[in-house]
């Protein structure tokens, strides 16, 4: 088991955004999370990547606990040092890319492996160029983010996350900030990663993509997981009323 989240509960100023959510992701699995805005799907991702702290529940990566239940029932995070180790297991691709504007494409990808993981420069360079080839961007290595299209930027962001060799990669609506004609190139890259058995969790609005790529689709609404299972079932023959409603609205 790569990721295990159990009984996650999270409130923002009295408003319960996540209500007792549990999520397990196995090696090689591609999980899509869908749902209306405000359903808590992005918050779930941010809790999984420690950008938000959970109120109660448990999180562990590769069997290593990151947050456990404390004596008073509240979540208890492990020490900063242990958390750093856990953080190296996952990567996150943002909706807004969040590339570092003052670094070239190559430096965006190479800097964290060198500065954070203290890896050998030569080796990282080889790997970064390999990643850029994979993203079909090898000729833009020296460009700066502002010189790239949104789709290209997002592919660089994916390469940057992959350069740290994470066990699991999260995507937070990776195509929502893109012009429609640019979403294809990003989805193609994610699909390619799925073919290579990369473990991924994707929050998305792209239903056809979710259907084609995922092993499992989770439908969330109002802070709970309403329905989950094989994409053909959740998207093709949902059993829950709310899922049916959502998909009907989506198609319109």
């Amino acid at each position: 088991m790569i990721l295990e989240m159990k009984g996650i509960q999270k409130s923002f100023g009295g408003l319960e955004v996540l209500k007792d959510i549990s999520l397990e992701v196995d090696s090689g699995e591609v999980v899509s999370i869908i749902g209306p805005s405000g359903s808590g799907k992005s918050t779930l991702l941010r809790c999984a990547t420690f950008l938000e702290t959970i109120d109660s529940g448990e999180i562990s990566y590769m069997g290593v606990p990151a947050a456990t239940t404390g004596p008073e029932g509240y979540a208890l995070y492990v020490s900063e040092a242990e958390l750093r180790k856990v953080k190296s297991y996952f990567g996150l691709v943002f909706q807004q890319f969040n590339l570092f504007p003052h670094y070239s494409v190559l430096k965006n990808i190479m800097d964290a492996p060198i500065a954070v993981q203290k890896r050998d420069k030569e080796e990282v360079y080889e790997e970064a160029m390999e990643l850029l080839r994979k993203m079909n961007l090898e000729n833009r290595a020296d460009a700066y983010p502002c010189q790239l299209s949104g789709g290209q930027q997002q592919r660089v962001a994916i390469a940057r996350a992959l350069a740290l060799n994470p066990a699991i990669l999260f995507f937070d609506e990776p195509t929502s900030a893109l012009d429609p004609e640019l979403t294809g190139e990003v989805l193609k890259v994610i699909r390619q990663l799925a073919d290579e058995k990369m473990t991924m969790v994707v929050v998305t609005h792209e239903m056809p993509f979710a259907r084609a790529v995922s092993n499992r689709v989770i439908f969330m609404d109002k802070g709970v997981i309403v329905e989950q299972g094989h994409p053909e079932i959740v998207l093709g023959a949902p059993t829950q009323e709310r899922t049916i409603q959502f998909l009907r609205n989506y198609q319109r």
Binding site: T49, F50, L51, R84, K87, S88, F90, G91, L92, F94, Q96, N98, L99, F100, P101, H102, D111, A112, A115, V116, Q117, Y144, P145, C146, R160, A161, L164
Partner: protein, 215 residues
């Protein structure tokens, strides 16, 4: 007095003017960073004190502050202030400019999107790494034009050191003007300030250009 004597006499003052300028830059730029962090401290009392400090520094004339820094130790603690003129001037200028720089820095940090911090965190950068590698370079680019303005003001403000009778260039210009009943020293002073500020503006523009490679 010949023109060359005038120039060499004022030249000694120009060195003192430059000393005030460079020492103030050296101390006030980092100090402004400290003030900015204190202003956003977790402790309410620190925040309040820092805010009062900034308000005083920006709300009272620098000339008055210089008098305070120099004579304050004597009037408050009866201390011997011999040889304390230049340090008092540097402290006065640095504390004053740090307050202005702190506000400029704060504005600069506010232009950095939250996503930059989050990206750095997810990629595993430590706090200091995030600050120095990711955030600070972008802040510097954002604040450069405002800093240039302050630095140019500082060049001209150095003449306020005459309050403490530190013989910088403008004080000497005034003395020569009095003894020679001549306007020439003021013309020389004007040319000096203009050239100094031209150099500052030129240098800052070069830096701005060098950072122009990204948006």
């Amino acid at each position: 007095m010949t023109l060359s004597t005038m120039l060499s006499t004022m030249g000694a003052g120009m060195l003192r003017t430059c000393a005030i300028f460079f020492l103030t830059i050296l101390f006030s730029l980092p100090l402004g960073m400290v003030v900015m962090f204190l202003r956003q401290s977790r402790f309410g009392i620190v925040r309040v004190i820092t805010k009062i400090y900034i308000a005083i520094m920006r709300g009272t004339p620098l000339m008055l502050q210089l008098l305070m820094w120099y004579f304050g130790p004597y009037y408050l603690f009866g201390m011997n202030i011999r040889g304390y003129r230049l340090p008092a001037i540097i402290i006065g200028f640095s504390m004053n400019y740090a307050a202005y720089f702190a506000e400029i820095y704060r504005g600069g940090f506010e232009t950095i999107p939250k996503g930059q911090y989050e990206a750095a965190e997810v990629l595993g950068y430590s706090g200091p790494q995030t600050f120095f590698k990711i955030i600070l370079p972008q802040v510097i680019k954002a604040i450069l034009p405002s800093v240039t303005n302050e630095v140019i003001t500082l060049v001209k403000d150095t003449s306020l050191a005459f309050t403490l009778a530190y013989n910088e260039m403008f004080s000497i210009a005034k003395q020569i003007a009095a003894s020679q009943t001549s306007f020439m020293p003021f013309v020389i002073a004007g040319v000096f300030y203009f050239i100094a500020n031209y150099a500052v503006a030129f240098g800052m523009e070069r830096i701005e250009k060098a950072l122009d490679y990204y948006r």
